[in-house]
């Protein structure tokens, strides 16, 4: 359902993506792991054109974009296929929780206010925030804000939800509630691509794991294979650093 071919992106002289190929099936849950600066976030942001790639091709569902001949219409179409959950939540500060979730439904999908409200309440129920619909983002904890962020994405019913380090800005004690919500959506069969540093979570939830370093995909496979029988030295070293407890069990 998602097909990425030869994706390249440079910031000045710094080549962040050096030709990425990737394939995602409908309903699949993919985690992208890798050290900081490996290009995972840039890859995710290219998928909904918050960054425009220099070369390559992206297909999501029936929308195809080639970096060499892009037009605005294609970009809007592509963005409608996905929804993003941001590291810094990026909730609309001047809107209440309910308005945040309804905004895209009303403005982009042109749903009636009643229909949008019904849908918004349904997803807010799912993320456990139905009692906070009239609060403003500044009145919520980080974990609650991120759950609204997830609800906002989920309400649009996109083909794929892109998670950009969804728990990296959270206090450790708030990480759990957000991961729980993500896991719940995953069980419902939503296609998801998750960039994360939560190794255990990635291992438990993912159908497939992609390990990136220095702008290229080093290795990919099922969690079992990536975490215990990695082929590449770089993957092994990274995982050793990220999951020190593995040292004890070996």
């Amino acid at each position: 359902m998602i097909e990425i071919e030869g994706l390249k992106k440079k910031f000045g002289h710094n080549e962040v993506l050096k030709g990425i190929n990737m394939h995602v099936e409908k309903g699949e849950i993919i985690s992208i792991l890798g050290p900081s600066g490996s290009g995972k976030t840039t890859l995710l942001r290219c998928l909904n054109y918050l960054e425009s790639p220099d070369e390559g091709q992206i297909v999501i569902d029936d929308v195809l974009i080639n970096a060499h001949k892009v037009n605005k219409k294609d970009i809007y179409q592509l963005r409608k296929k996905s929804a993003m959950v941001f590291q810094a939540y990026n909730l609309f500060q001047h809107k209440t929780v309910l308005q945040n979730v309804m905004e895209g439904l009303v403005v982009v999908q042109k749903k009636s206010v009643n229909e949008a409200k019904e849908k918004a309440l349904e997803v807010l129920q799912k993320v456990g925030l139905k009692n906070k619909i009239d609060a403003y983002p500044s009145q919520l904890s980080g974990g609650q804000q991120q759950r609204v962020g997830i609800a906002r994405a989920l309400a649009l019913n996109p083909e794929v939800i892109l998670f950009d380090e969804p728990t990296s800005a959270l206090d450790p004690e708030l990480v759990g509630e957000v991961l729980e919500v993500i896991a719940k959506i995953a069980r419902e069969g939503k296609t998801m691509i998750i960039v994360t540093h939560e190794m255990n979570f990635a291992r438990e939830i993912s159908d497939r794991i992609i390990f990136m370093d220095n702008g290229v995909v080093i290795e990919e496979g099922i969690p079992q294979q990536i975490f215990t029988e990695q082929k590449e030295e770089r993957t092994r070293q990274f995982l050793k650093r990220m999951t020190p407890e593995l040292d004890y069990s070996i």
């Binding site: 909904n48 054109y49 918050l50 809007y76 963005r79 409608k80 996905s82 929804a83 993003m84 941001f86 810094a88 990026n90 909730l91 609309f92 500060q93 001047h94 809107k95 209440t96 905004e103 895209g104 403005v107 982009v108 999908q109 403003y136 983002p137 500044s138 009145q139 906002r152 994405a153 649009l156």
Partner: protein, 234 residues
Amino acid sequence: MGKAFDPILIIEFLPTLIKYLGVTLEIVFFSMIFGTIIGIIVALPKLFHIPIVRQIVTLYISFIRGTPILIQLFLVYYGLPALLSIWNIDITRMDALYFVIITYSLSHGAIFAEIFRGAIQAIDIGQTEAAYSIGMKPLQSFFRIVLPQAIRIAFPNMANSIIGSLKDTSLAFTIGVMDMMGRGETLISSTAHALEVYISLSIVYYVIVLVFEKIFKISERYFNRYQPHGISSI
């Protein structure tokens, strides 16, 4: 020197002067509306780094900020008819009030443009990205997400500037507009009680400014409704 000071006159002059308050408020109201429109238009070339136009608006803003409003008023009053006469348009008989509104609109436009630019730049880029990510187009994102938040940041500065201009309207009489100040001047020549007139005028201006401040305070509270408690700006 005028006649002996008579405090009763201060009260007696008040109703006469207040009759002309409408003209003052008219100047403030229209120059605020046109100034806001000019301000948004002028802020855009700087925000989007449009070459040449950007240099022109920079010059316009720095000229307005660097010259007294009284001189701007005369420049427009004498300059605009001269300029338009090139195309055989005669506006020499136009009501002086329009020249005042044009001058104050231009002046506000420049000041508001800088206030808007700062406020829009203060909005986190993540807000725009989130708007794009749910499928909004640039104009939708600007008007629905960025601008409403920028207005909150711009508002206190705009309010200050409006209060300043309310007082500046007292210069309008220098080109013959009959506002409160103008009426005051005629009162002085007919009664020779200058001090009483000026005290009367200062009371009216002061009360109006207090009313404006109160209205702005209430509006500010509304704009800050989604801010965490205790932090009122930025």
